[in-house]
C-alpha cells in the first residue's frame, strides 16, 4: 500500500527524501566547491542531512550529538583553521591531468558499484532480537545507551576519554612548536 502525499506517512516520507537530497547535495558541495570555506559549509549541510537520517533510524540522541559535535564543533574548528591558513590566492581549481581525473572518478566508482551490488544481492532477513516481556524489541532509548556505556562498553568509554585528552594535548603541542615567543 502506498500512502498518499497528504497523510502523515506521506509527509514524513517526503521529509526523508529531502534529508537524502540535503545529504548528497552537501557532500557534492563539500568536494566540488572551489573555495574551502564553501566546502566546509557543504560539509555542515551534509551533516545536517545525516542527522535527519539518524532521527528516522529511531535515535534522536545520536542525531542531536551529530548536530552538536559535527556541525557545532568539527566544522567550526575547520573554519578556524581555514581562516588561519588559507591564503587568498589559493582558490585555484583542481586543474589537472586527465589521468588523475579519470582515476579520481574510476576508483570510487568501482567501490560504489561493488558496495551497491553487495547491498542489493544480500538477503537481509531480520536477525532475531532480544525481546522484552511484552514481546517487543527494546527501543534503544537514551537510557539504554547510558546503561550500555557504563556497563558493557565501560572500558571503551574510559579509553575514549584518554584518547581525547591525548588529542587535546598533542594538538596543543603540535600547533605551538615553532611559534616565536612574543
Amino acid at each position: 500500500m502506498s500512502p498518499s502525499l497528504l497523510t502523515a506517512e506521506g509527509l514524513s516520507g517526503l521529509l526523508f527524501l529531502g534529508f537524502i537530497a540535503i545529504t548528497l547535495l552537501g557532500a557534492l558541495i563539500a568536494t566540488h566547491a572551489e573555495r574551502l570555506i564553501r566546502s566546509v559549509a557543504g560539509l555542515a549541510l551534509c551533516f545536517l542531512g545525516v542527522a535527519g537520517l539518524y532521527y528516522y533510524l529511531g535515535s534522536p540522541f545520536v542525531a542531536l550529538m551529530q548536530l552538536l559535535i559535527y556541525v557545532g564543533a568539527v566544522c567550526v574548528t575547520i573554519i578556524f583553521a581555514i581562516m588561519l591558513a588559507e591564503n587568498a590566492g589559493s582558490a585555484k581549481a583542481a586543474t589537472g591531468k586527465t589521468f588523475a581525473a579519470i582515476f579520481a572518478v574510476l576508483c570510487p566508482g568501482v567501490l560504489l558499484a561493488a558496495l551497491v551490488e553487495l547491498a542489493m544481492k544480500t538477503d537481509w532477513s531480520p536477525v532475531a532480537r532480544a525481546t522484552t516481556a511484552g514481546g517487543q524489541a527494546p527501543a534503544g532509548s537514551v537510557a539504554d545507551i547510558g546503561i550500555s556505556l557504563l556497563t558493557t562498553n565501560a572500558v571503551s568509554f574510559e579509553l575514549i576519554s584518554v584518547v581525547l585528552l591525548a588529542a587535546i594535548v598533542g594538538s596543543l603541542v603540535l600547533a605551538r612548536s615553532g611559534r616565536t615567543k612574543s
Binding site: E9, V62, E86, R129, G140, L149, I160, A167, L174
Partner: protein
C-alpha cells in the same frame, strides 16, 4: 516500492552510506589542499556511521550497539580533526601554504 516509503528500507541507508563513502574517496583523490582532504575524510567517516546506524536499526540483535559505536566514531573523528588541523597549522607556518603539492621538501 513507493518513493515515500524509502525510510523503512535497509538498502536506502546502505546505498546512501556507499554514496557518501564514494564521494569522500573522490574528494580525497581530487582535492589538492590538506583541509580539503580532511573534509573528504569526514565524509567517509559519516558514511561508515550511517551504515552502523542502519544495521543497528534493522539488523542488530542488540538495540544500542550501533548507536554506541557511532558515538565512538564521532569522538574519534573529533580527535582526528583536531590533530590534523594542528598539523596543518604547523605545516602552514613552515611552508606558507596548505597545498599538498608544494609541501615536498625532505629534511637532510
Amino acid at each position: 516500492m513507493n518513493a515515500l516509503q524509502l525510510s523503512n528500507e535497509l538498502n536506502t541507508y546502505l546505498i546512501l552510506g556507499a554514496l557518501l563513502f564514494a564521494i569522500g574517496v573522490y574528494g580525497m583523490v581530487r582535492r589538492r589542499t590538506f583541509i580539503g582532504m580532511l573534509i573528504s575524510a569526514e565524509l567517509v567517516l559519516s558514511g561508515a556511521s550511517v551504515n552502523f546506524m542502519a544495521f543497528n536499526h534493522f539488523q542488530a540483535p542488540g538495540p544500542v550497539t550501533g548507536q554506541v559505536f557511532t558515538l565512538f566514531i564521532m569522538a574519534i573523528a573529533a580527535a582526528e580533526a583536531a590533530i590534523a588541523l594542528s598539523i596543518i597549522i604547523a605545516v602552514y607556518r613552515n611552508y606558507r601554504s596548505i597545498d599538498a603539492d608544494e609541501v615536498a621538501d625532505l629534511k637532510g
